[in-house]
């Protein structure tokens, strides 16, 4: 005869099975149309490019070599691929500077929002949320109209006589930077605000009681307490900035490529799908490293506060 324990165990097993069945459709769709194809990209990165795009099913490490190297067409020697290194460097640099810029602007903004009265806080939050949910392409397009040669910035500069000819901002790295900082700013403000909202201002008061200056309070009390939000915000900005496609395509013109444009090129005119695949995997590895750093950091600070 089944004991009570056995009955409970069977019920638990049934429960777990039901829970697997319930989550099966979501897991299946994500596997088929998001996760699974990533494995195919990995396979493709080790194949030979076909003459008209796609691949030949023949193993070749060439794509991975050409991520950072180029083969001399005459003597077959390998040297550092200048163009690829430049694009990698530009992408990482722009993503880092974008993250820092959004932090410099977003941190005070989140602080401002968190120190409002409880009722108005919701309004400020709403004002940050609207751009966040507004189409990224539309926001990039809005930036384009501001910074182009006939745009509002140049018109004002010309009218004031500060410059005699329009300043070329559009189609430069600066344009990409302005655009990314603009579109990703809410991604920084929201998590920082979430941490800031929970900030216990009695600690700040205690700091002042102990004769700390404003800056010292900011550095030694506020910043350490909201650090999880700052790290989350930085990750949320850095990842899409590194893989940004829309902003560099619209604001960078054809010349100032970022990684995503280089990848797109391999699947278009470049007709080098294996190289495009290897580049994609490289981007993913960089993102994974950033995420791991975040998880480890979040884990540590969780222990400290918990």
């Amino acid at each position: 005869m089944a004991t009570a324990e056995e009955v409970a165990k069977a019920a638990e097993r049934r429960d777990v099975r039901d829970r697997w069945l319930l989550s099966a459709p979501a897991l299946l769709v994500i596997f088929l149309a998001a996760t699974g194809p990533l494995l195919i990209v990995l396979v493709y990165s080790f194949l030979t490019p076909g003459a008209y795009g796609d691949v030949k099913w023949q193993f070749s490490p060439e794509a991975w070599l050409s991520v950072f190297m180029e083969r001399d067409i005459f003597d077959d020697t390998l040297s550092l691929a200048g163009a690829h290194v430049t694009i990698f460097w530009r992408s990482i640099k722009l993503a880092v500077v974008t993250t820092l810029a959004t932090l410099a602007l977003g941190f005070p903004t989140a602080y401002f929002m968190a120190t409002r009265s409880e009722k108005t806080r919701d309004l400020w939050l709403f004002l940050i949320t609207i751009p966040f949910w507004t189409n990224l392409l539309i926001r990039t397009f809005a930036v384009l109209q501001i910074i182009r040669n006939e745009g509002i910035i140049n018109t004002i500069l010309l009218k004031l006589g500060i410059v005699s000819a329009p300043v070329q901002i559009l189609y430069t790295d600066t344009a990409i930077l302005i655009g990314m900082a603009y579109v990703y700013l809410p991604l920084m403000v929201l998590p920082v605000y979430a941490s800031m909202e929970k900030l216990d201002f009695r600690l700040v008061e205690a700091g002042y009681d102990l004769y700390a200056t404003r800056f010292k309070v900011l550095r030694k009390i506020i910043f350490p307490l909201v650090k999880p939000g700052v790290i989350a915000g930085s990750i949320l900005v850095f990842i899409p900035a590194l893989g940004a496609y829309v902003t560099p395509s619209v604001l960078g013109g054809g010349k100032n490529m970022m990684l995503s444009n280089l990848i797109e090129l391999q699947f278009g005119q470049g007709r080098n799908w294996p190289l495009g695949s290897a580049l994609s995997i490289t981007v993913m590895i960089i993102v994974m490293v950033a995420l791991l750093a975040y998880v480890r950091n979040a884990g540590k600070s969780g222990v400290r506060h918990g």
Binding site: L27, Y245, S277
Partner: protein
């Protein structure tokens, strides 16, 4: 003197915050203003006019792309929300069981990978399937959109479920309600605001997508954002401003609705 000392004050922070809000909204305001420009280009102001809205309305490409965006968005959002609701029910209000962490990771996976990588991966995968089956309809876009909408729909539903304890469901079961009846009459009504929020979120996310759609679409399958991207690359007319303005209004309406639905606590 001491009475003027505010512990919450930090020098310059309010000024930076004010700048941020102005900078966030100024480009959008300029964009909307130029949608009502009568002139032929966006470099000069030719007076107020609705002609660009009219021209967008008569542009069959714009209308086609808009309808396609809505069609994909609606189907993908509904599917994603149903699947996300089921997944949320399966992953909340339980003691940890084998595979639970895996499920969290799997459901959130689309958020962890840059869109360009997913786009490329789907381009390769779907191009194989296209050759194999000969089918090249909207199904690919719908599948792709459903997949990346699931984590977004999942978030508010899971949040709502975590705040619901099992007392009422247990009470229903004690009164001999079948599991299905308990779900229909107790769980679903309580969960409804979360489901609605998830649905709206998924719809907006689908409507906004550029990158994955750009890589997955076949010829003649432009959605509104990919159509606009093509136009912007070719040079701009106030018509794009008009389309953007209409799009913007729709997004703001959905966000406002979302804000109210997700704030509602009963």
């Amino acid at each position: 003197m001491a009475s003027n000392f505010s512990i919450k004050h930090q020098p310059g922070f309010t000024a930076i915050a004010a700048t941020c809000f102005v900078v966030l909204y100024l480009p959008i305001i300029v964009l909307v203003a130029y949608a009502f420009n009568a002139a032929n280009s966006t470099s000069e102001w030719g007076g107020f006019s609705l002609r660009w809205f009219q021209s967008a309305w008569q542009n069959t490409q714009v209308i086609d792309a808009t309808l396609r965006s809505f069609q994909i968005g609606a189907i993908a959002a509904v599917l994603a929300t149903i699947f996300a609701t089921m997944a949320a029910l399966a992953t909340t209000r339980t003691a940890p069981y084998p595979g639970l962490t895996f499920k969290y990771a799997a459901i959130n996976q689309p958020l962890m990978v840059p869109e360009i990588v997913t786009g490329v991966a789907l381009l390769i995968f779907f191009s194989r399937i296209k050759i194999f089956t000969g089918y090249s309809g909207l199904g690919y876009l719908i599948a792709a959109h459903t997949a990346f909408c699931i984590p977004f729909a999942y978030l508010p539903i899971r949040g709502r479920l975590e705040n619901m304890d099992l007392t009422l469901e247990r009470a229903a079961a004690d009164l001999y309600a079948t599991p299905w009846k308990t779900f229909r009459r107790v769980t679903l009504p309580l969960l409804w605001p979360g489901i609605l929020a998830g649905l709206m979120l998924a719809f907006v996310i689908s409507l906004d997508d550029v990158v994955i759609t750009e890589f997955v679409k076949s010829g003649g399958q432009d959605t509104l954002p990919t159509y606009m991207l093509g136009q912007i690359r070719r040079g701009i007319t106030p018509e794009i401003n008009a389309i953007s303005t209409a799009f913007l209004l729709l997004s703001v309406a959905i966000v406002t609705l979302f804000f109210f639905v997700s704030r509602k606590r009963d």
